[in-house]
């Protein structure tokens, strides 16, 4: 097989793997930067670097770890350059997050089922509950800012978010049990 064809095949393989891992990678990125737009930019930048590395024939032995490693590097630079960036943490905590994701790589199937279950549970939420989540996650508002919109204190917003997340988790666990998956 010519060198060009090898490169194309390699890129296709890595692209396929990238798409398969995209939800986990986005969870990692979004979990660290906590801003949807920044997370998407980082996500796309990882893809661009993957394409470049594949084109250069770089040996990537462990794609998910490579994706997270590149994302981490981009995020670190983002924190260093963006003074208003949130969620800046020390390297020890970052290492623990890395370790956590690495340990869960084999649980991709269950995490995907939980993700689909969560989507169904979200559809069942009342409108006012979805609004709180939308303000927090889609609009990227802090608890203070959400509270200002809803005339609540930030503490009560955080408590509400906790209850909503717990409710969603319980819903997902029920669905998992009903479908025979682990909860």
């Amino acid at each position: 097989m010519g060198q060009e064809a090898v490169m194309d095949t390699r890129l296709k393989e890595l692209s396929t793997r990238f798409m398969a891992e995209r939800h986990g990678l986005m969870a990692y990125i979004y979990g660290l930067v906590q801003q949807a737009e920044v997370a998407e930019d980082v996500f796309q930048e990882v893809w661009l670097r993957l394409a470049d590395a594949a084109g250069r024939g770089v040996a990537i032995d462990h794609p998910p770890r490579w994706f997270r490693g590149v994302a981490r590097n981009i995020i670190l630079h983002h924190w260093r350059t963006e003074k208003r960036a949130r969620v800046i943490v020390d390297s020890e905590l970052l290492d623990l997050v890395d370790q956590a994701f690495a340990e869960q790589e084999s649980e991709g199937g269950e995490l995907e089922r939980r993700r689909r279950g969560l989507q169904e549970c979200l559809r069942e939420l009342p409108a006012h509950a979805k609004e709180v989540l939308r303000l927090k996650y889609v609009a990227d508002l802090t608890a203070d800012e959400v509270g200002a919109r809803l005339s609540r204190s930030s503490a009560s917003v955080l408590m509400l978010l906790s209850r909503l997340r717990r409710g969603l988790e319980d819903c997902v666990n029920r669905r998992m049990r009903l479908s025979g998956g682990a909860a």
């Binding site: 194309d8 296709k12 692209s15 798409m19 995209r22 939800h23 986005m26 990692y28 979004y30 979990g31 906590q34 949807a36 737009e37 996500f43 796309q44 893809w47 470049d52 590395a53 250069r56 770089v58 040996a59 990537i60 032995d61 490579w66 490693g69 590149v70 670190l76 630079h77 949130r86 969620v87 800046i88 943490v89 020390d90 390297s91 905590l93 623990l96 997050v97 956590a100 994701f101 340990e103 869960q104 649980e107 995490l111 939980r114 993700r115 969560l118 989507q119 979200l122 939308r134 927090k136 996650y137 889609v138 609009a139 990227d140 608890a143 955080l158 906790s162 997340r165 717990r166 969603l168």
Partner: protein
């Protein structure tokens, strides 16, 4: 909700205080909590995606996360399709042998811009650098062709990656060439002139190429045929690169350096040719690549043989150098010690991390340029770390840090063009980890190979690679196991510390010869240059702690250096670790000894003319 979930919610809301971060870390030590944390973060991303999919997103500048994910998928498929679409039908169907046949690239050393330079003895008129405008849609224009009518054709790729249709245009004088356009001269030949600079390319019959514009360079992708180029001087930070199936050639125009002193002007040319004319008398010489000359009130003369050959190896004696703290950013940091010892240092060494040169951080810094302009050689020990955090060798080897660090420094080094010593993670034995840690000896060697290859690919051919180990053998990381190979190492180096921890068995008073002889013996047997000769060795770094007995003293230790090093002819450079308690001037007596050693003509202290270099 668990404490963990509440901490995670607060962490991702507005951050955590130190105490809360400590609590979160304590919780994450438990594997079950780590699994729960991953589920929590997955759920956060899924909530974002789901709400956007429902169309309940707030107005933001970015599209829905899912749409973005889908667009990435489209981009993946489109880039693969575009690569095929951009090829001409002939290229798609041509046998591999036809596309990969060897090309004649007649340029570079044969035809380079010729600069006529007239200099005065007491001033310098430097060649004004042209500046290119930011990338323009039109990269070049067809200036002339040998045939009447069209000489060949141009294939312009479709702008929409999803559209496979490309446009085919005839090439006539005045045809503009844009980025990505593919040219086929067919039976004619033609000349292109780049937009906004005087560079011209003459393409012979049967030549196929494309022009690519990148932030730091313009690339001529030469698929087949012959190109003669007259290259205008490229602005700092940019290069013209010819890329073929077998090679890349980086052209930056004529390269020279000029140093004007009170009594003489020195010129060194790295590429191209320069006519060098003295004001007094009017005689002139034409200086070619890797040549230098001096003009004084008596006239102009060519320099004698370079003091340095090959990868900065002195033909005699030993380079005398000093290691300064990374925080030493002022040019005076080197000259202060030089003033104290009465001689200039030929080499200035610093320890740096990957993050010190990442992205937009300059290399060389203004201080480093000043050191180099004064004739000192730079030696950088470049450690894969970001701040205080060690980066895994396996991650570096897999290219994770290419975009932000490795390729960045490589491009900057190539653009600067000045030779300098570069060591990658000195004394790696102290960081070696168990299997699976990403920090094994094998990972170290892979990292070295990868970084070296990236520098070569970037055109930083002038970098002199220094492999640095401890002079104390470590069974966990033997010299043999850690050695990357003769083809990617120019110098070998070892650290050597005397009396660092008085009283400990490992560290007690030893002469420099005793400290380094085992390493030198190993190097003699295992490291050879292309001529089968032993590779040069650098002491990087060496130091002596204070004496604890009446004799021998630190000053005595210094005074013995010239004779001891003369007996070890492979050692061609000695860099002293001038920091903290090990400073050469830790006591007046020690400084006197260090100064006496430096006075010995065995040590080369006057910075020679650069072998290759550009004006700082």
């Amino acid at each position: 909700m668990s404490d963990l979930d509440e901490l995670l919610i607060r962490w991702q809301d507005a951050g955590l205080g130190l105490a809360e971060q400590a609590e979160l870390k304590r919780l994450l030590v438990d594997p079950a909590n780590r699994a729960a944390a991953v589920r929590h973060l997955h759920a956060s991303a899924a909530i974002l995606e789901s709400l956007r999919e429902e169309g309940a997103a707030a107005a933001t500048s970015a599209g829905p996360a899912t749409e973005r994910l889908r667009s990435v998928g489209r981009s993946i498929r489109a880039s693969q399709g575009a690569a095929n679409a951009a090829r001409t039908p002939r290229q798609r169907s041509a046998p591999r042998a036809h596309r990969a046949r060897s090309v004649r690239l007649t340029t570079l050393g044969a035809v380079v811009a010729v600069v006529i330079l007239v200099l005065t003895c007491f001033g310098v008129t430097l060649v004004q650098r042209t500046t290119t405008t930011p990338a323009m849609p039109t990269l070049a224009v067809v200036e002339a062709s040998s045939t009447s009518g069209a000489a060949g054709y141009l294939v312009r790729a479709a702008t929409d990656p999803g559209d496979a249709v490309a446009t085919r245009l005839p090439l006539t004088p005045g045809t503009t060439i844009g980025a990505g356009d593919r040219i086929d001269t067919g039976d004619g030949d033609l000349r292109l002139r780049f937009s906004n600079e005087a560079t011209t390319l003459t393409l012979a019959t049967g030549t196929r190429l494309a022009l690519i514009e990148l932030p730091d360079r313009r690339e001529v992708l030469l698929d087949a045929g012959s190109v003669e180029a007259v290259v205008a001087k490229q602005p700092a930070g940019r290069a013209l690169v010819f890329v073929t199936a077998q090679a890349t050639a980086c052209v930056i125009g004529t390269r020279l350096s000029v140093i004007a002193g009170a009594a003489e002007t020195r010129l060194a040319v790295s590429e191209g040719r320069v006519r060098f004319k003295a004001v007094a008398g009017g005689d002139s010489v034409e200086i070619g690549a890797n040549e230098s000359a001096v003009a004084t009130s008596s006239g102009v003369r060519r320099d004698g043989a370079q003091a340095l050959t090959g990868p900065l190896v002195p033909t005699h004696g030993c380079l005398w150098g000093v290691s300064l703290r990374a925080e030493a950013t002022a040019p005076a940091a080197a000259s202060e010690l030089e003033a104290a010892v009465g001689r200039r240092m030929a080499v200035v060494h610093q320890y740096q991390g990957f993050s010190d040169y990442e992205r937009e951080r300059p290399f060389p810094s203004a201080t480093q340029r000043a050191w180099a302009a004064a004739g000192r050689l730079l030696a950088i020990d470049w450690k894969p770390r970001q701040g205080e955090q060690q980066l895994r060798w396996s991650d570096v080897a897999e290219g994770i840090y290419d975009a932000d660090c490795v390729d960045v420094l490589a491009r900057k080094a190539a653009a600067w063009g000045h030779p300098f010593f570069l060591s990658l993670h000195h004394d790696p034995a102290e960081a070696v980890g168990p299997a699976g840690s990403g920090m094994t000896v094998a990972d170290y060697v892979r990292m070295w190979h990868h970084v070296h290859a990236r520098f070569v690919a970037a055109g930083a051919q002038q970098v002199v690679w220094v492999w640095t180990m401890s002079s104390w053998p470590d069974p966990a990381a033997s010299w043999s196991a850690c050695y990357p190979g003769d083809d990617c190492v120019d110098w070998l180096a070892c650290t050597a510390y005397n009396n660092l921890k008085p009283g400990e068995q490992r560290m007690h008073w030893r002469s420099l010869s005793d400290l380094v002889t085992p390493f030198v013996g190993w190097a003699r047997e295992h490291a050879r240059d292309g001529h089968g000769q032993a590779k040069p060795i650098m002491l990087s770094v060496y130091a002596c702690a204070e004496d604890t007995e009446p004799a021998p003293t630190k000053a005595d230790w210094f005074r013995a250096l010239p004779a001891q090093l003369a007996a070890l002819p492979e050692i061609k450079a000695a860099i002293y670790f001038h920091d903290r308690a090990l400073r050469a001037d830790s006591t007046p007596e020690a400084l006197a000894g260090f100064r006496a050693a430096g006075d010995d003509p065995f040590f080369i202290t006057d910075g020679p003319p650069p072998v290759r270099g550009i004006s700082p």
